[in-house]
């Protein structure tokens, strides 16, 4: 906060203060309670999912979710585009292995990957879902990259193939979701039956979407992290 000129500091304090005061005073919180959870419980019962949030996220408001996955893909694409072509061909020497790091990565990585799969697969039954599962698993790979070197991990997960897989999965998700959104009747489960609530094979197509999104986000996260590792810039 050093060296802030007064002609910036004073208006900033004044305007930000006025903004916060205006919002706080007229928000009228806590006001009259308009509780609407019951509608959502009914909607979730229709879909067969136990986790009401995932019923909304992947069934009632699937259109939002599709757009959001597109936003994420555009971001991955942008990171690839801007970090790839900077003429850095030298390979990154792995950070020298330390025994503790190696061991912790060996122990932790499977746990994290399992956690990711569990979050994805049980998204319709418990908190979690494809997105957090994919991100958790993708970040787990970062740990492996620190311990074994990014190249070692990248050799195992060939990036060109991964990128293609990513787009294929996205296309699949778009295709599988577009038709229920456009033609379906609630609960958008034209693809799969709702099943008995509580079982793994329930919740209609929520499980399917969760798996698709999980795979896509896992790949996207790893591609993004890999480019950040490869890029030897400075900030």
């Amino acid at each position: 906060m050093r060296h802030v000129p007064l002609r910036l500091l004073l208006p900033a304090l004044l305007l930000v203060g006025a903004f916060c005061a205006a919002v706080w005073v007229t928000f009228d919180y806590p006001g009259p309670d308009r509780h609407a959870a019951d509608d959502w419980v009914d909607a979730a019962r229709l879909t067969g999912a136990v986790n009401v949030v995932s019923a909304i996220y992947l069934n009632v408001r699937l259109l939002d979710t599709l757009l959001e996955v597109l936003v994420f893909s555009v971001a991955v694409l942008g990171v690839r585009f801007y970090l790839r072509e900077r003429g850095h061909v030298e390979t990154v020497d792995s950070i020298p292995e330390s025994h503790v790091l190696r061991l912790s990565s060996d122990l932790l990585l499977p746990v994290i990957l399992l956690l990711g799969i569990q979050l994805t697969a049980y998204g319709h039954l418990a908190p979690g879902g494809g997105f957090s599962g994919g991100v958790a698993a993708g970040t787990g790979l970062l740990l492996a990259a620190i311990a074994l070197g990014a190249d070692a991990v990248a050799r195992r997960f060939h990036e060109g193939a991964l990128a293609h897989l990513e787009w294929a999965v996205l296309l699949c998700a778009l295709f599988l979701a577009a038709f229920p959104v456009a033609f379906g009747r609630p609960p958008l489960s034209d693809l799969l039956p709702p099943g008995t609530p509580g079982g793994l094979a329930s919740g209609g197509s929520i499980l399917l979407y969760n798996v698709l999104i999980g795979v896509k986000v896992f790949i996207g996260t790893w591609i993004m992290l890999h480019h950040f590792i490869l890029h030897r810039g400075e900030v």
Binding site: A12, A44, F72, A75
Partner: protein, 118 residues
């Protein structure tokens, strides 16, 4: 002043705005931008929160009332979108810092205006 999620989120919004205006380093500015988005998300989540509420999972034991799940579903999208924006702008900040060897927004402003309008 009651301490609830909405009040705190408005306070956080103000802090983030000040950070966005007063700090000149681009990385810190990005952190402040992340804080702006985090505070709106906190606001959404705590809108319908109630002390006696229950998480929006069907068949949870107890008599408590389920909190409204719609804001939660919205917020999931918003978190992802904010991450996407953050990653891209971080890449751009990296490119700019590599070019100008500084992360100071006003110095970069001067350098670019020199280049674009000779």
């Amino acid at each position: 002043m009651p301490i609830n999620g909405v009040t705190i989120s408005i306070l956080l919004f103000g802090i983030a705005l000040l950070g966005l205006v007063l700090r000149r380093d681009l990385v810190i500015k990005l952190l402040a931008l992340g804080l702006v988005n985090a505070s709106t998300i906190l606001c959404l989540v705590s809108l319908r929160a109630r002390p006696d509420g229950a998480a929006p999972i069907l068949g949870a034991p107890g008599e408590s009332v389920m909190v409204d799940p719609l804001p939660h579903a919205m917020v999931l999208s918003a978190i992802v979108i904010n991450f996407a924006i953050l990653a891209l702008s971080l890449v751009f900040v990296m490119l700019l810092v590599e070019r100008y060897h500084t992360g100071d927004s006003q110095q970069i402003e001067r350098e670019t205006s020199k280049e674009e309008e000779p």
